[in-house]
Symmetry: C2
Subunit: 220 residues, 2 copies
């Protein structure tokens, strides 16, 4: 399994101990056979951890939810989102934070979004909004509806892509991988686009060359 996947043996043993990988078929006291399913599961775990930045505990939650046939797709989405959600909890006892949280709730309500009312992600959105307001960067709050529009159209096309998969097992895996890898891919493209737009704008904004006209105010 190590040879086929490129994952070192101690790491595979660690995943087995931590319950991320099911045990292989024992063929001797300290030998076991691993199937193609093991290989695929191992690749999935590595994608979650290495590319998606998911913790080992988060990967175990995702793998358990995937293996459980009774998990509905929407429940699996929640597990995958929780796995990539930051674990930090900045101070939330300020009036700025309460106002930001109310703003997020109002946004969700105004748009009629069917978001999970118990999701911790509304708090995460309020964290970013409150921090920007506290630091005087009110532009983020002003841009909230634009962000929501973009998030909405992006999510609609991604959900369509995943749900259009024919095989149910593949569809469930695509919910997980679309969430984790889609986030990583889009985040990287967004940073590259920022580099481009900044370079474009900053070059365009370069001041025009001196035309030789006499300065209006005489030099000191």
């Amino acid at each position: 399994l190590s040879k086929r996947s490129g994952v070192p043996i101690p790491t595979i043993k660690y995943y087995l101990r931590e319950g991320l990988l099911p045990p292989g078929d024992a063929t001797a006291a300290n030998q076991a056979d691993y199937s193609d399913d093991h290989l695929r599961r191992l690749k999935l775990i590595r994608a979650l951890i290495d590319v998606g930045g998911v913790s080992v505990a988060g990967a175990r939650d995702v793998v358990a939810a995937l293996a459980d046939d009774t998990t509905p797709p929407i429940g699996l989405l929640g597990v995958a989102q929780n796995a990539i959600m930051p674990r930090r909890r900045p101070g939330r006892d300020t009036p700025e934070w309460a106002a930001a949280r109310a703003r997020v709730t109002a946004l969700i309500d105004a748009r009629g979004w069917l978001s999970d009312p118990d999701t911790p992600i509304m708090d995460t959105a309020a964290d970013a909004l409150a921090a920007s307001v506290t630091l005087g960067i009110t532009e983020l709050a002003d841009h909230l509806d634009g962000y929501a529009d973009t998030a909405s159209s992006l999510a609609a096309s991604e959900v369509d892509i995943v749900l259009d998969r024919a095989d149910p097992a593949g569809r469930m895996e695509a919910v997980v991988l679309g969430t984790v890898l889609g986030e990583a891919l889009f985040g990287a493209l967004r940073m590259l686009a920022h580099q481009h737009e900044s370079a474009r704008r900053l070059n365009a904004a370069r001041p025009a060359r001196d035309t030789g006209a006499a300065p209006v105010v005489p030099r000191a």
Copy 2:
């Protein structure tokens, strides 16, 4: 400073030792005065670390680039992007990865994006793309142009917002905070939109009730 910011004294001492905060004006052997600038700097550091998930080393880099008057905005953007970039480096010695990396380069070239040719972010994009292809989720690769379109329009409006700020010092801070907090805010909204779209689609896709028509194939 601790009372005004809500940040515990040991944490402030740690930031002073690590060079994130400049020392205050010493008023006695073990007393110092801290100004409004210190308070603002401290709030900025907390936003980077608590909301943006930036490491202490990353925050130090950002703060140093901000304090250096010779840093151009585009350089500061790179420092802020590096600070929120994942530090993981998954296996990159596979043909799938090389193909994914070539695909990213081709995308940037085709669009004429003025991205930094030495940026590690192209590799990060290739990580996500290669992992999805390896796991048979080819939809992400198929959707690459749609992602690039969305990333591009999002980045254009964000860069406009930041560069339209009147004061140069505030503009530099906005580059940093727009990058870090804008990413956190948009990421959270995107997850909420995913919840909505999934709930909407899965309800809409519920199979129609049995109409009573006789089955074409007789039951066994």
